[in-house]
Amino acid sequence: MRKLLTSKWFIILVTVLILIVIIGVGFIPGSPIRQMVKPVSGIASPVQAFVKNIGDMVGDARSALFDGMAIRKENEDLKEQIAQLQYALTQSEEAAIRYEELKEALHIKDTFSSYDVYGAAILSRDADEWFSVIRADAGARDGVDLASGDAYAVVDVEMSLVGRVIETDDSNSKILTLMHESFRVSCKVNEVNGAYVTCSGDAGLKKKGLCLLTDIDPDVVLEAGDVIVTSGEGGLFPEGIPVGTVESVDYSDPLNITATLKPYTDVSQLKDVFIMIPIQADAAVDDSTEATSEEAAQ
């Protein structure tokens, strides 16, 4: 018996069975497995952040040493650009005042006015093509608390779609990027009455930095260069977030027209992201009530 218990193959079998049970339990919604491993993340995160900071500092120091000439040239170009932009800004100020007047008069809403936007830095990236969820440093403590069945859109600094938050804990969020095979979002061509398509990740296209467009209506003429934005269908993502441009269209099978999409965001170069959290309807009502009562008081 002792020989059996200390046998390598017996230990392998038992451990594999235990791990399979853990994986199975992990699939159950609200499973305690994720809660149990949270302390591990809490211990390892500071170490990982420390190593990452050292790497960033080394990178910055190297840039400071070797990029001096390039920075000086860039600085001069930027000064020129600032002068031009200053002029454009002066021109735009008057237009902005007019827009505000019209916005109030016509009840125009800002594109993402019903969303709170939280900034977060990327903490860790994918380990390989299957272990590919990335982590950002915004969690429940910062107001990013994902309820079961919800999904928050994640955008980059230029408001282009990066992916969605799939899980949060106290201090971190896990993000599924739009290149992942399991990612799907309803999109449309960014024009009046633009055609609806589905954008999803694809294992083969991921290596080329592309996504797949499917569910294309045979009557729709999709062309390379067409701009694709989120459609807002399904309610998970707000409408109008830029996703990318059509790279090529395959009409060879009329019943299954597909296209490739070049996303605007480069996931591998991301350093900071923004998480868009819909403002709850009741909170929005409260805000508007407060605003109305303040106006009345004045």
Binding site: S41, K52, S124, A127, F131, S132
Partner: protein, 205 residues
């Protein structure tokens, strides 16, 4: 009385944290042709190959746990919802350790050139198994095959990953053999513990 394995504990902890931090923090900088050298996987395989199943299994389970915490795979469940899984990293790295500790025996065990062969074979098995499972899972859940076709997989995924893992194995072999958890010339280092304990026994050496 057996001495407390302080050297092993410290060095394994340092190497595990180093490998894990590099993997999840600098994957972009290390990537080539869309693939990332899998330092965690290679380190587990080499530990099991050089220092046997017990060390490899513990390293594999710890690295797998960190992998599951920080960059877990996301899978579409049978009901269509997306689930961030837990435990797959531990299972993969534990099996890698089990394989590597049993792959070569006798004179070919703990031999530096053969360690690269072990890394190569383990990588091929991992990639092929992962590819087949993803094809199977997608066809079961989404009723479509979104995985790459076989040629794309072989040329665009398997070969670059194999090359990168073999390159990553060079510094890791150096670390484990020359700055490793066991002193040079110790029974564990010279493959003499096998003779003492016999094949198949795990806890005694």
């Amino acid at each position: 009385m057996r001495r407390f394995p302080l050297r092993q504990l410290i060095l394994y902890t340092v190497y595990i944290l180093l490998v894990f931090c590099l993997q999840v923090s600098y994957s972009t900088e290390m990537s080539f042709l869309g693939q990332i050298p899998d330092l965690m996987f290679v380190f587990t395989v080499l530990t099991a190959y050089f220092y046997d199943f017990r060390d490899g299994a513990i390293v594999g389970l710890v690295l797998g746990l960190l992998r599951d915490c920080f960059c877990a795979p996301c899978v579409t469940g049978l009901d269509g919802t997306l689930v961030v899984t837990g435990g797959i990293g531990m299972l993969v790295l534990f099996l890698a350790a089990a394989f590597a500790s049993s792959f070569f025996t006798g004179r070919m065990k703990r031999n530096v050139p053969f360690s690269f062969a072990t890394v190569a074979v383990a990588t091929i098995i991992y990639k092929v198994a992962g590819y087949l499972l993803s094809v199977l899972w997608f066809s079961l859940v989404q009723h479509t095959v979104t995985a790459m076709d076989l040629a794309d997989f072989a040329l665009g995924s398997l070969l670059p990953q194999l090359g990168l893992n073999l390159i990553a194995a060079i510094p890791l072999v150096f670390l484990l053999k020359f700055l490793g958890p066991y002193k040079r010339g110790s029974a564990k280092d010279k493959n003499e513990d096998k003779i003492i304990s016999g094949e198949g026994n795990w806890v005694t050496y």
